[in-house]
């Protein structure tokens, strides 16, 4: 029978099917970070259990780490916030105690888990990958079955190398055609979320397919899969192809020699069969996608750069109407206001969605030779890992950013969720390359607008949103 990519990955990982329709699924890789793991390790300790398979785990601190060089140079003791310090310390202690490999704060390989895994080749095609973080969907870009889990499940995977799962439905997002110049994976995924809503993918594994995806880079695919969860899908996926193989080859933990050939042969089948049946298919024309900007407090409250904050009468029902009203108030925006008229206070380029080398290159290309608007309080660039930072510096991107007036920081989650010192002040508008525009997400009372890296850089220079496709004309 014809199978989808998800069907194949699922079937390959079933240890045992139970009578009630649930299955025990084997987990190949678990990534750990400091926020959602301490209670899991504590659970093991209380129950007197040991990790099932140490080499399946890889840890790195990311959410709480400071991003200023002065703090980072000191190490853990340099973390000013005492509560953050305890959490990062606890991860180190737990990994040391249980024998789990960790890229600690001063290791150049440290970074955001969802940047580090693929960068190291610790995320491979055909794997099941989990992490106590909803953006684990990112790893599905490698034709892996990857999703976020809660802390109880982190403990469950540590103790048993398995999860109890029920199979999800198959959803295909089919993006046919050619993306316009300046249109990125971020714009595609925000466009899709706008179409199907934040609950549109609930209960589904979401595969991104079609000619526009086939020609997209791994970075773009990771950005799309990363935000599948913002459309409600725990799992985002892209089929294996030459682009995947090219990215994986030679990474530290990728198979080598004869194993590489064998692996590539096995991976070649990691795609949905031509006649596979999906429970739901959403057709998207690549040519229809324009640069996206969110206006409200949910990723589905999104429009295009030439768009407007929607009017109340555009809401589909009472529930959405009251959501719009709350969002106008929280965001300090008027219905019908042009997106290009929103004045910005800060810009954030970073996060597990958009902090890879390609993202930084795209932002730097816009920033080059320009200056950040004087009306901005801050424009931050936070690379996704120590290795991304090193590569960017090799290419001179750091200098471009610094000369333009951006701050060039050390790797971590930073202002995406403001668990460290990088945050928005109340009422401040931020053009952000992160993934969530929820109330308070980037700081108490902060107002987030989600955009692509190039759009964020252009907004930093203009002081308000501008169409990156016309940016040459604007400056």
């Amino acid at each position: 029978m014809a199978k989808t990519l998800y069907d194949k990955l699922w079937d390959q990982h079933v240890v045992k099917t139970r009578d009630d329709g649930t299955a025990l699924i084997y987990i190949d890789r678990q990534l750990l970070h400091e926020v959602t793991s301490p209670q899991a390790f504590e659970g093991l300790r209380i129950a007197g259990r040991k990790p099932w398979r140490l080499d399946a785990n890889l840890a790195t601190p990311d959410h709480n780490v400071p991003t200023t060089k002065t703090e980072r140079d000191v190490g853990i003791e340099g973390i000013v916030d005492p509560v953050s310090k305890i959490q990062v310390k606890t991860l180190d202690e737990n990994c040391d105690e249980f024998g789990i490999v960790e890229f600690k704060m001063k290791d150049i390989r440290q970074g955001i888990v969802h940047v580090v895994g693929p960068e190291q080749g610790a995320t491979l095609p055909g794997m099941t990958v989990v992490c106590g973080d909803s953006h684990t969907a990112t790893h599905g870009a490698f034709a892996a079955l990857a999703h976020g889990i809660g802390t109880s499940e982190v403990e469950h995977v540590l103790a048993t190398q398995c999860l109890i799962q029920r199979k999800m439905k198959n959803l295909l997002i089919n993006v046919e055609g050619e993306l316009g110049a300046g249109i990125t994976g971020k714009d595609v995924v925000l466009h899709v979320i706008g179409l199907i809503g934040t609950a549109g993918g609930n209960g589904c594994a979401m595969e991104f397919g079609g000619s526009a995806i086939r020609s997209m880079s791994m970075e773009g695919r990771m950005t799309m899969c990363n935000m599948a969860i913002e459309a409600g899908a725990r799992v985002g996926m892209v089929a294996f192809d030459e682009i995947t193989a090219e990215y994986v080859k030679g990474r530290p933990y990728a198979p080598k020699g004869a194993d590489w050939e064998k692996a590539v042969d096995a991976w070649a089948d990691l795609k949905s069969d031509a006649d596979a049946q999906f429970d739901k298919v959403v057709e998207v024309k690549a040519e229809d996608i324009k640069p996206q900007v969110t206006w409200g407090t949910s990723p589905e409250m999104v429009t295009t750069i030439d768009g407007f904050v929607p009017k109340l009468e555009e809401a589909k029902d009472d529930v959405e109407r009251s959501g719009f009203e709350r969002a106008y108030k929280y965001m300090g925006l008027e219905p019908g206001q042009a997106i290009t008229d929103i004045d910005l206070d800060r810009v954030f380029i970073g996060s597990c969605t958009n902090s890879r080398i390609e993202d930084l290159r795209a932002a730097a290309a816009v920033a080059k030779g320009n200056k950040v608007a004087e009306t901005l309080k801050q424009a931050l660039v936070v690379p996704g890992s120590g290795l991304v930072k090193e590569q960017a510096e090799k290419e001179g991107l750091d200098k471009i950013f610094i000369e333009a007036g951006f701050e060039w920081r050390e790797p971590g989650c930073s202002m995406c969720l403001a668990m460290n010192a990088d945050k928005l002040g109340s009422g401040e508008h931020c053009a952000s390359t992160s993934n969530r525009n929820f109330e308070g997400r980037q700081g108490y009372g902060g107002r987030t607008h989600l955009v692509s890296p190039a759009m964020a850089a252009a907004a930093a220079i203009a002081g308000h949103f501008v169409d990156v496709r016309q940016f040459e004309l604007v400056k």
Binding site: V15, K16, Q39, V101, G132, G150, T160, N202, M419, E439
Partner: protein
């Protein structure tokens, strides 16, 4: 985990869709390395008029009088009523921990985000799915009747209203079993340790590169 059998309690209505986990428990409180103590900061940004800090005393903070959980009639609520896509966003299990720590044992909504739904069962919190029409009716009844209570009977998969009418609900049989008995599912999975080992050995043969030690 505390077993969940039958529970009756006051219903608090949060008339809002897409209540996300950042709203349920804001990020600054995720720095705790414990599982308990999140209740005072449940819905922190909606509940208080100032910005909450971890490990701070919340007793003297100014309360938002408009927020439902601050209203006298909903004190001691154990059932939370909400709109669609409850618990969307981050995978933080701190969200069900905070709801539970506050005193909620049941949430009723037309739909939930997958990860939140899953996390709830692991913590003795029952997320019940009812159709939008029924949820709408409950919102109206709660609003109209002070002290409105529901009896949640998990064993019989029934919600009993104050007038004696009952509403049936669906729940996954394995999850129901675990909730009713307060079972830790790690212990249950480890009963299949031999199957896991056998699978693992086969996988090691076919894909040895998945077992290379990361250094």
């Amino acid at each position: 985990m505390e077993p969940f059998v039958k529970q009756s309690g006051i219903v608090a209505p949060m008339d809002r869709a897409n209540i996300d986990t950042d709203m349920i428990i804001p990020k600054q409180f995720l720095k705790s390395i414990k599982r308990s103590g999140f209740g005072p900061n449940l819905f922190d940004e909606l509940r208080y008029l100032d910005e909450g800090q971890p490990d701070a005393d919340n007793s003297g903070r100014p309360l938002n009088p408009d927020f439902v959980l601050n209203q006298a009639r909903y004190q001691g609520a154990q059932v939370l009523l909400a709109r669609e896509n409850f618990g969307c966003g981050s995978s933080r299990e701190h969200a069900p921990w905070a709801l539970e720590d506050f005193g909620f044992r049941t949430v009723i909504a037309p739909s939930y985000a997958d990860i939140f739904f899953n996390n709830s069962f692991k913590n003795g919190l029952l997320p019940i799915v009812l159709d939008e029409e029924t949820v709408d009716m409950l919102f109206k009844e709660v609003e109209a009747n002070e002290g409105y209570e529901l009896i949640i009977d998990l064993e019989n998969q029934n919600i009993v209203k104050p007038n004696g009418d009952s509403i049936a609900f669906e729940v996954d049989s394995f999850r129901k079993h675990c909730l009713l008995n307060g079972l830790d599912d790690i212990g249950l999975t480890l009963q299949d340790a031999d199957d896991i080992k056998a699978y693992e050995d086969k996988r090691r043969q076919s894909s040895p590169w998945l077992f290379d030690q990361v250094k």
